[in-house]
Amino acid sequence: MEGAFILEKLILVVIVFTVSLVIAMYSTLAERKIAGFMQDRHGPNRAGFGGLLQPLCDGGKFFFKEEIIPAGAHRPLFILGPTLAIITACISSAVIPWGQTLTVGNREVVLQVADINVGVLYIFGVVALGVYGIMIGGWASNNKFSLLGAIRAASQSISYEIGMGLSLIALLMVTQTLSMSEIVAQQSGFVNWNIWVQPIGFLIFMTCAFAECNRVPFDLPECETELVGGYHTEYSSMKLGLYMFSEYINMFVSSALMAALYFGGYNFPFMHDLGLSQNWITILGVLAFFLKIFGFIFFFMWIRWTLPRFRYDQLMNLGWKMLIPLAIANIVLTGVITLIKDTYFA
């Protein structure tokens, strides 16, 4: 029994890992395609049919590029930076429930790598860890632009984590649990999605997720116009590739998080009215979940090609003077509403 359990989890880990890598890979293509369409052009369309082989070519090119470690750089930390970035990006997907249970033979397979009861906290911790990759890389480069980028990344990350945490507290007041699988299970159907009870919280969470992923309009750590390449100025070859990759994996994971926390995860409308067997509902649920994730990834890119980058003081103003007070107000509001509901409508 134990062996089967380990094997099952191992297979799941490999699948989740592969899927997130492939999605991150093709996000790079999707990003350029979407950018192209939004600017009335085609985007890459030479490698393979419609540019489908472009990510592979890019990956190959990254491997063949010269690997430079600057003379003044702190070697071990310089290597540790991108490693940490990609590891933290990959492990945060462990607690996301990808679907309900599949019945294979007489075994119930839960489509979640680790159902820990503090899932939300775990994600929070891992996300907070993510900034270390950038910090260490930027510091170890021994380059003032990299250092500036790293400092920006750190302060931005800390500022927006507060807003993110506060917006999540309001959500947790509604869900009464920290376990990801329970949060998603509570949102079955369509009307139970958390977005209907926490719209403001979702908005804050999304904004903070953008900032945590260092995506435009909050990509100040790598702001090309001011900092050459930001924290990865000195990086080349696959180390740079890993940084880029971790950004896309982060985007995928935060899309999954938003879909799971606020948009019902694997739940889809009328899922109980179709009269399908559990396995089919699970499979359709996984598809629905990925549809939502792709929707969010598209939204990430859509935003990127619409908005200009914020100025640093605007970023800080938005984080501290708008989002945090708003999130606190949201908590109070949620508390009041819950109280009223419990006293008068229970």
Partner: protein
């Protein structure tokens, strides 16, 4: 920081009434949230997402040339395949870019099948780097000997290779009977 006071109108009289006075007020709470502006921007980009893409995918697709496109020059032959040019130099004279040079020669006995006039150009060169494809040489020619009806002049590595001699300019001889056959068949 943005200036908080509206900019005062100057005493200068405006000639048209197209001038708009833009007031710069400090942003209100809703504007400072950026959300309405973001939504508007998203609307604009998504409209472009579904627009027709005007790009011409070049090697596979080509744009049609205009009817009076002026490309590489060709020195024409007459119906019997003889070179029309008589080396009068009018084209060189009319050329604003001074791209044309030539050396005249006298037609010898037995060369009547090669050159239409008694005088012909033994050397005729156009410097394609100088030429601006204005077509004035074509207009100046009294013998209808030069036309800019060729394709694009292609890129090359050396400057000297852009000086096109008669080998590149003169039309290839063709068999007129074959052409008639092709037309009728």
């Amino acid at each position: 920081m943005l200036p908080n006071k509206p900019i005062k109108e100057t005493a200068m009289q405006s000639l048209s009434n197209r001038k708009k006075i833009i007031e710069q007020k400090p942003m209100n709470f809703w504007e400072r949230m950026y959300l309405p502006a973001i939504a508007k921007g998203l609307g604009i980009t998504i409209r472009h997402f579904f627009k027709k893409i005007p790009t011409v995918k070049y090697p596979e697709e080509t744009r049609p040339y205009s009817k009076n496109f002026r490309g590489q020059h060709s020195l024409k032959r007459d119906e019997q395949g003889r070179e029309r040019c008589t080396a009068c130099g009018l084209c060189a004279l009319s050329c604003p870019a001074e791209a044309i040079t030539m050396t005249a020669a006298e037609r010898k006995k037995g060369e009547e099948m090669l050159y239409r006039e008694e005088k012909y150009a033994s050397v005729y060169e156009i410097n394609m780097l100088r030429c601006i494809f204005c077509g004035l040489c074509e207009e100046a020619c009294p013998k209808e000997a030069i036309y800019l009806d060729g394709p694009h002049v292609t890129a090359d590595y050396l400057r000297k290779d852009f000086i096109y001699g008669k080998d590149k300019l003169v039309e290839p001889t063709f068999d007129i009977t074959k052409l008639i056959q092709d037309k009728t068949s």
